[in-house]
């Protein structure tokens, strides 16, 4: 059997809308999935699922330029060619690479007349396979100021798929990154469903339109969950209308619940805590499952 598992990616235009709380709850409810944290920039899912690491790997991606001071004659060719302003010259005429600016393009390495620039692999972070009370989890920690979060996201997804194959699971739940840029694109391409979490705010509407059009751009079915929907019923209604126009089904409405923070502090998913909003998530899960 080589059935492709269902892959639900939870995203949002903006951060802080409740992606992590919702994905953790869905994973808990499914009882039978692989869960992956693709919000590698600020991975928080581990705070709720308390993973016990079973495998840990370093993540190398791309390269970084490094000037060998002994060979460098200070001709400034590298500085002139670098489009990222990553080569700095100090007051003694010494050249060096500013690592947070270097994009690893290799131009300086290639055109240094003295061959004085090295190009080692770049350590960008680490990724882990873990066991949690909701099942196996794949997650990562991106190094500070490291690049290529898109590549790390792709790696986590492919490892999650491998793990699903291995363990015979047909569902992968992914906590995605915010925004519409490189990491989000990497987390939704090829996924089966996207669950867009939004809030009833003017900015929420704005972000929803952009992120749903991104899902449409990649031809992935978008569902919408309106978190804290009762905070502003007028805007919630507007969101429902806009979602309809964008052909995205509103599949869940979750009430504003101050106790969510409390369950976060207790490191529990919402559905494990006996709080009012838990029922809303359970209802949403039932609909998602049936679709």
């Amino acid at each position: 059997m080589n059935n492709k598992p269902r892959e639900i990616v939870v995203i949002s235009g903006k951060g802080g809308t409740g992606k992590t709380s919702i994905s953790a709850s869905l994973a808990y409810l499914s009882k039978d999935c692989i869960v992956a944290d693709c919000d590698v920039d600020a991975a928080d899912l581990y705070l709720l699922l308390n993973p016990i690491s079973i495998e840990k790997h370093e993540f190398y991606s791309g390269h970084i330029a490094k000037i060998n001071q002994e060979k460098c004659i200070g001709c400034s060719t590298c500085k002139n060619l670098c489009r990222f302003d990553a080569i700095k010259e100090d007051s003694n005429g010494k050249f060096s690479v500013e690592p947070t600016s270097c994009e690893g393009c290799k131009v300086c390495v290639e055109f240094c007349p003295e061959k004085a620039i090295d190009f080692p692999d770049r350590l960008c972070g680490e990724w882990m396979k873990s066991e949690t009370r909701v099942g196996f989890m794949v997650h990562a920690k991106l190094g500070i100021a490291a690049e290529n979060s898109g590549k790390l996201v792709s790696l986590i997804r492919s490892e999650a798929r491998k793990l699903a194959q291995e363990k015979g699971k047909n569902l992968i739940i992914i906590d995605g990154p915010p925004g519409i840029g490189c990491p989000v694109i990497a987390s939704i391409t090829g996924a089966t469903d996207v669950l867009v979490v939004t809030e009833p705010t003017i900015s929420g509407i704005h972000d929803l339109e952009r992120v749903v059009s991104l899902a449409n751009h990649f031809r992935i079915k978008p569902y919408v969950a309106i978190n804290k929907f009762d905070l502003n019923l007028e805007i919630t209604e507007k969101i429902e209308k806009i979602a309809k126009e964008l052909k995205a089904q509103v599949i869940g409405k979750i009430r504003y619940d101050k106790l969510v923070t409390q369950s976060q502090i207790e490191a529990k998913t919402i559905v494990e805590s006996n709080i009012p909003s838990a029922q809303d998530i359970i209802d949403m899960w039932e609909k998602l499952k049936a679709n």
Binding site: A42, V107, P178
Partner: protein, 284 residues
């Protein structure tokens, strides 16, 4: 002076703080420039409500191959570190979304068959509201690379006067690009486990970039005191605390600014500007 408002993660209140600071600053300074560098989802314009005065298309340079000159040697695709140029049975094909505009392919092309052309990645919108100039970067949907657009927004910084940067969330390339030249960073967080986790990352970034920074805690009272304890332990000043006030959440949801609607918060925002001004002066 440039103050950047950043956070490990979105939804903590960056835009709220950046826009309110801009409003307070406009009472004190002749001109304030607010740069919305959260180009994937810029929201400052909702709160500033200015009049749009201009727009500017932002392009990056991508390679174009002149097939009549191309000898199909493959040097360009061998060189490209981003797989943005691929030689499929001869003629190279450019994947423009992957290109970082380093210019390497045109440099290595011996027959000079590659030149660079403009490729649109987004737009900058210019708004004016009283003394506030809002400069907003808006990334095109489907365009993956935000740093060049953030860089283009930052070119409009007014070095002589006060600039406030609404930074993107996270700890990777976009946020680095947004905050790297700031004089002071305000890290916005919430008193929760997620808030602390993301704050620690943001602190690491600020330290790595050798920046002066302080913490603003939003929704104080909604969680616990772990963020306060961490700041104390790490000797990080807490420059602003905004209580968990449903009135603020409602104003936000309707796209309204705190100041002007809840005047009781005015003083604390004024103090933020004063304190930062003093720190920067003392350092100079």
């Amino acid at each position: 002076m440039t103050i950047a408002v950043a956070s490990g993660k979105g939804g903590t209140g960056k835009t709220t703080i950046a826009t309110n600071l801009a409003v307070i600053a406009s009472e004190k300074y002749d001109r304030v420039t607010l740069l919305d560098c959260d180009v994937e989802e810029p929201n400052s314009h909702i709160f500033i409500n200015g009049e749009k005065v201009n727009e500017e298309i932002v392009n990056v340079k991508i390679p174009e191959v002149d097939e009549s000159l191309c000898t199909e040697c493959g040097a360009c695709s061998d060189f490209c570190q981003y797989n943005a140029i691929v030689s499929l049975k001869g003629k190279p094909v450019v994947f423009k979304e992957m290109c970082h505009s380093c210019g390497g392919c045109s440099l290595v092309c011996q027959p000079k068959a590659i030149h660079e052309v403009d490729h649109r990645i987004g737009v900058i919108n210019f708004y004016k509201s009283g003394k506030i100039s809002l400069i907003e970067g808006l990334l095109d949907v489907g365009s993956p690379l935000s740093p060049p657009l953030i860089g283009a927004v930052k070119k409009h910084e007014n070095k002589e006067e006060l600039n406030i940067i609404d930074a993107p969330p996270g700890t990777s390339c976009p946020v680095i690009e947004a905050i790297r030249d700031a004089d002071y960073i305000i890290l916005v967080t919430e008193p929760t486990p997620f808030g602390l986790n993301d704050l620690i990352l943001a602190v690491e970034v600020s330290r790595k970039l050798n920046k002066r920074f302080a913490v603003a805690i939003n929704r104080v009272g909604s969680g616990d005191d772990r963020v306060h304890k961490y700041c104390k332990k790490e000797n990080i000043p807490i420059i602003l605390e905004i209580p968990d006030d449903r009135k603020i959440a409602e104003l936000y949801s309707n796209g309204k600014i705190i100041l002007g609607n809840l005047p009781e918060y005015k003083k604390s925002f004024e103090e933020v500007l004063e304190k930062i001004g003093m720190v920067i002066q003392n350092e100079q």
